[in-house]
């Protein structure tokens, strides 16, 4: 236990990496402020890999590390679409995943946001559109925001989340549901 506590103390709080922040940290810190201002409370996301190469997942996972610390903003990746305010979807939508994606979308309560991440999901990726894949996520379900990048960096993903919740009309989603 002593070692654990010492390590925690030694590590300190990294969410806004002092003293000389890398450019990513500055952007991340600003995004944090914006997200907190607009959202103000929890946002739950169900993640669906619809046939990505796994590059996009690695960067979405990184959102949870202490630098980006999305949990600290009240953004959580949840284990059921029924608990989700938003879907985050990667991949070109392989045909084998199309039905599962559609079902996940149907299972998420309205109103809901969809954030498509990565070039493949946006329809410009190397895997988009062939006998085994559809063109993009929006070929299967309505998409609110597309985040480019192969894969998009965690900072770009944060910007995508921000863009989704800041869209006119979208803002009402989490707030509305927070009313008891």
């Amino acid at each position: 236990m002593y070692h654990v506590l010492r390590q925690i103390l030694r590590t300190g709080i990294r969410t806004e990496a002092p003293p000389a922040p890398a450019p990513e940290d500055v952007v991340a810190a600003r995004l944090h402020e914006d997200i907190l201002r607009i959202l103000g409370r929890a946002l739950t996301i169900r993640y669906v890999d619809a046939g990505s190469c796994n590059g996009c997942e690695l960067e979405a996972q990184a959102l949870g590390n202490p630098y980006y610390n999305v949990e600290g903003l009240g953004i959580r990746f949840v284990a059921s679409p029924r608990h989700a305010d938003a879907l985050m979807v990667s991949g070109p939508v392989s045909k084998h995943m199309a039905i599962a994606l559609r079902r996940t979308w149907n299972a998420a309560p309205d109103p809901k946001l969809v954030i498509a991440i990565g070039e493949c999901a946006c329809g410009r990726g190397i895997h988009s559109g062939n006998y085994a894949t559809l063109d993009r996520v929006s070929s299967v379900i309505p998409v609110d925001v597309e985040v480019p990048g192969c894969p998009p960096s965690p900072t770009a993903l944060l910007q995508g989340i921000l863009a989704a919740i800041a869209r006119p009309g979208a803002q009402a989603i989490p707030n509305e549901r927070a009313v008891p």
Binding site: H3, V4, Q7, I8, T11, R14, A22, E24, R46, Y47, V48, D49, A50, G51, S52, C53, N54, G55, C56, E57, L58, E59, A60, Q61, A62, G64, N65, P66, Y67, F77, V78, A79, S80, P81, G91, P92, S94, K95, H96, M97, A98, I99, A100, L101, T104, I126, H127, N130, Y131, A132, T133, L134, C150, P151, S153
Partner: protein
């Protein structure tokens, strides 16, 4: 492997490791595989090509690895109705490879298990995408097929289906558990959900363009795939990349290995109920990815390795920073390893959980990291070191128990070894005597040549079998992930364990879905 006793003539095969090829008849096919098995060879890959345009029917190829290197057996089939011998009695891992070969090429083995594997009703069952005359129709709707799972009958047995969409941020696949109480009697995997037509896409590309796709077969192994692909191209073109390019490739490959091990060690701590581990290791991983971005322009190092060399050189300041960073990281990892080792709760979850013994691992033909954790000491970096590994002398990491704890221990050892290698490599790169060129122009590769790339990625050996077409194009490309051989092992590893331990066991293997589904 010496096939002369079988009366077979072996020819040299251009590859990144010592490799040969031999044509076999139907009868010789099985005999050669049995002989290989007796000589402790392992099945690496099985794939087929459509050669009807050359009036030669179809060709099924099997790549085997033993002490001498790779042996590719080639078996020609006159037409689409002919079958080839079932290899699963000798190499159980052949099962899914044979089924996938049928789904994509329409060439079947004489096997009992004829269930589809990569086919899921998204295209007509009598159309085969990898045939050269295949044409996709926009009218084909995504489908879903009723897969014939094996059921366990008996008192109190029930079934839990999981997936394809999983909790958390991971790839999709379906798992069917048969359980009694909390105990797993049987697990059956159903993969293929991320099938995206990679092999077909290669066929529309030039050799240069293919590198980009190779780097996007499995995002966590982009360097390994890109290098294996480049190796295949370079073997065919008979070029040797500049020494500096080789050092830079190894630097990227070790950084990829390190980044994945750091990510997994954190996730394994978390799945074992120790969130502290995830927070700590994910910080270390993020630092590494940011340094990658600063040095090579990409956090995951995509497109860093290209046929002929590497895309860019490392600046001196970056090399210095990496060396210094490696030094710090070593202390951090050692500290965290001490914490993991002393944490009773974590060790209780790790030990004896999801065990695969050496005997079973050998019989299943397991590969790479998971095999090393089960006492099978194979690592291409040690067994058939290509440049610059021949000059580095990699220390292999193994463990005996084959449980989660063993797979954790191998990751710690390999992470520390990668740090040592990174320091050794940066020292070479900083040496002013090392020539500065990092890439050769790609010469016109001769057409209709087969070449093999074979590289030890972080998960295990990645193979790329490439055949050239006219004018520096790709005629056929089959990339093969070690996950093919290791997925079946998870079905064995979970037997007798409790359901809540499955995520931990699965993570301790951390196999690729995308690299397997293609």
């Amino acid at each position: 492997m010496n096939v002369a006793p079988l009366g077979l003539a072996a020819a040299r095969l251009p590859a990144g490791v010592p490799a040969q090829r031999a044509q076999v008849s139907s009868g010789q096919f099985l005999t050669a595989c049995r002989l290989a098995w007796e000589q402790r060879a392992q099945l690496v890959a099985l794939w087929a090509s459509d050669e009807r345009d050359r009036r030669r029917g179809f060709c099924v190829r099997v790549a085997l690895e033993d002490r001498d290197g790779l042996m590719v057996l080639e078996h020609w089939l006159p037409g689409e109705d002919s079958r080839y011998p079932d290899l699963t009695p000798i190499f159980p891992a052949a099962n899914r490879m044979q089924r996938s070969t049928y789904d994509l090429m329409g060439i079947g083995a004489e096997a009992d298990d004829q269930r589809p594997w990569l086919w899921m009703a998204s295209w007509p069952i009598d159309r085969f995408p990898l045939r050269r005359d295949f044409e996709a129709s926009p009218l084909w709707e995504p489908g879903q097929e009723e897969y014939d799972f094996v059921r366990v009958e008996g008192d109190g047995v029930h079934e839990i289906p999981v997936g394809p969409v999983h909790a958390g941020i991971i790839e999709p696949g379906h798992f069917r558990f048969q359980i009694v109480g909390e105990k797993v009697l049987r697990l059956e995997e159903r993969l293929g959900y991320t099938h995206k037509g990679v092999e077909k896409r290669f066929e529309a590309m030039t050799l240069g363009e293919g590198a980009k796709l190779a780097g996007r077969i499995s995002g966590d192994s982009t360097v390994a795939y890109a290098w294996a692909y480049a190796q295949a191209v370079e073997s065919i073109a008979e070029i040797v990349v500049p020494p500096r390019a080789a050092w830079l490739r190894a630097l990227c490959l070790e950084r990829e290995r390190l980044a994945n091990h750091l990510g997994d060690l954190g996730a394994l701590g978390n799945d074992g109920g120790f969130a502290f581990g995830l927070a700590q290791f994910s910080l270390l991983r993020e630092d590494l990815l940011r340094a990658n971005h600063a040095a090579f322009g990409h956090r995951l190092l995509m497109d860093a390795v290209v046929p002929g060399g590497v895309a860019r050189d490392l600046e001196i300041v970056q090399a210095l920073a990496m060396r210094e960073h490696a030094n710090r990281l070593r202390a951090e990892i050692a500290e965290l390893r001490g914490i993991y080792d002393e944490h009773a709760g974590l060790q209780d979850r790790f030990r004896n959980c999801g065990a695969v013994g050496a005997e079973l691992a050998g019989r299943l033909g397991m590969q790479g990291l998971a095999a090393r954790a089960s006492g099978i000491g194979r690592d291409l970096r040690c067994d058939f070191p290509c440049a610059p590994y021949d000059a580095l002398g990699v220390n292999i990491a193994t463990a005996a128990n084959g449980d989660v704890a063993a797979r954790v221990a191998v990751r710690f050892d390999e992470a520390l070894e990668s740090l040592r290698l990174i320091e050794a490599i940066t020292a070479q790169l900083l040496d002013p005597a090392l020539a500065r060129d990092v890439a050769l122009p790609l010469p016109d590769a001769p057409e209709q040549r087969l070449g093999i790339g074979y590289v030890e990625g972080w998960r295990g050996p990645v193979l790329v079998a490439l055949e050239t077409g006219p004018g520096a194009t790709i005629r056929r490309c089959h990339p093969h992930d070690p996950s093919w051989s290791n997925w079946p092992a998870i079905e064995h590893a979970v037997i007798g364990n409790i359901v809540p331990d499955f995520p931990l066991i699965n993570k301790s293997f951390n196999l690729s879905y995308s690299g397997h589904d293609l």
